[in-house]
């Protein structure tokens, strides 16, 4: 596929080649299965297995898998939900724990051998989760504060002189109801696209320079390889951070709906 092996020039693939995969089952239909869909299912299986098996036979002194899952659950419960939402948000801990672990596992597919592709780099999954969080925080706001009071509190915040509302209300409307889900989705999506593109570029440089004709060019494989390894290491960090940021922003938005602006 890449022409480096034949000693040809550097072939930089387009975005299409890096990110879209052909269907290999149910071709042409809406239910077509390609590598991305397969990775979604694999991620869901892994996350399901971890949480379900980790919570069977619960003992007061945790051992084995329960111990590991309790670390994650405790992190989300204490450091995200109680810090940001207070005690009123404790019913959201399972949702946020699932969100965090699913996004983290899907992001980690970027660095697993033989699968170097993050399914979160297709806009479908981040967009779906952003819309989900959006619907949840609107519905929670209407449920906690009543529809009129909730929208009035956001669009017409109190303590502001009346004429400023002409400027403030459109800004608040766009900022809360349009920009928040949009940036939530695009932040995750863009980070994963950027990371995957950089990792792929370094690895393409490695292959092209390794099989090049002139011996001088072959030496460039050393910094290319160091760069590729460094980028893969950085991707672990970015995967964790992006999952954490998505979760904590979801917690902030839902907490704001519960407590009021």
């Amino acid at each position: 596929m890449f022409f480096g092996a034949s000693g040809g020039g550097l072939h930089i693939p387009s975005t299409e080649e890096l990110f879209s995969w052909p269907d290999f089952a149910f071709k042409g239909t809406v239910f077509g299965i390609n590598k991305t869909v397969l990775l979604y299912f694999l991620g869901a299986l892994i996350v399901g297995f971890l949480w379900i098996v980790g919570s069977r036979r619960q003992s007061l002194v945790p051992r084995g898998l329960q111990n590991l899952m309790e670390v994650f659950y405790g992190f989300i419960r204490n450091n995200i939900v109680i810090e940001v939402m207070g005690v009123a948000g404790l019913s959201y801990v399972p949702f946020l724990a699932t969100l965090f672990s699913f996004i983290f596992v899907l992001n980690l597919f970027e660095i697993t051998p033989f699968i170097l592709f993050p399914p979160t780099s297709r806009i479908a999954l981040p967009a779906f989760f952003a819309i989900l969080v959006w619907v949840i925080f609107i519905v929670q706001g209407i449920r906690s504060q009543g529809a009129g009071h909730y929208f009035k509190g956001i669009l017409f915040p109190p303590g502001v002189p009346k004429p400023i509302y002409i400027l403030l209300t459109p800004i608040e409307l766009i900022s809360v109801f349009i920009v928040r889900p949009l940036t939530l989705a695009v932040r995750l999506f863009a980070n994963m696209v950027a990371g995957h593109t950089l990792v792929t570029m370094f690895l393409i440089f490695c292959e092209t320079t390794l099989f090049a004709d002139s011996i001088g060019v072959k030496f460039v494989v050393i910094p290319s390889f160091i760069g590729a390894v460094g980028m893969l290491g950085f991707e672990i960090f970015v995967s964790a951070i992006q999952a954490f940021i998505f979760t904590i922003l979801a917690a902030v938005y839902i907490g704001e709906s519960i407590h009021g602006h």
């Binding site: 932040r187 950027a194 951070i241």
Partner: protein, 74 residues
């Protein structure tokens, strides 16, 4: 060839310009987090969490530029 002619993709210029603001912004955020940790070390964990939050917000703007440069330009 005219003197003012730009050949190639202008998207990359847009990406470069989009990276200026977040670069400065992230520098400010990290500096504020270090200041806060130095003044009050017991709140270092909390200010580190807030720093990551602020970095994610500003980095999103730079990544908008990066991704749109690639996707809208091919």
């Amino acid at each position: 060839m005219f003197l003012g002619e730009v050949v190639g993709s202008v998207n990359v210029i847009g990406y470069g310009l989009a990276a200026i603001g977040p670069g400065l912004g992230i520098g400010y955020i990290a500096a504020a987090a270090i200041d806060a940790s130095a003044r009050q070390p017991e709140l270092a964990g909390q200010s580190r969490t807030t720093m990551f939050l602020g970095i994610a917000f500003t980095e999103a703007l730079a990544l908008f530029g990066f991704v749109l440069a690639f996707i809208l330009g091919g």
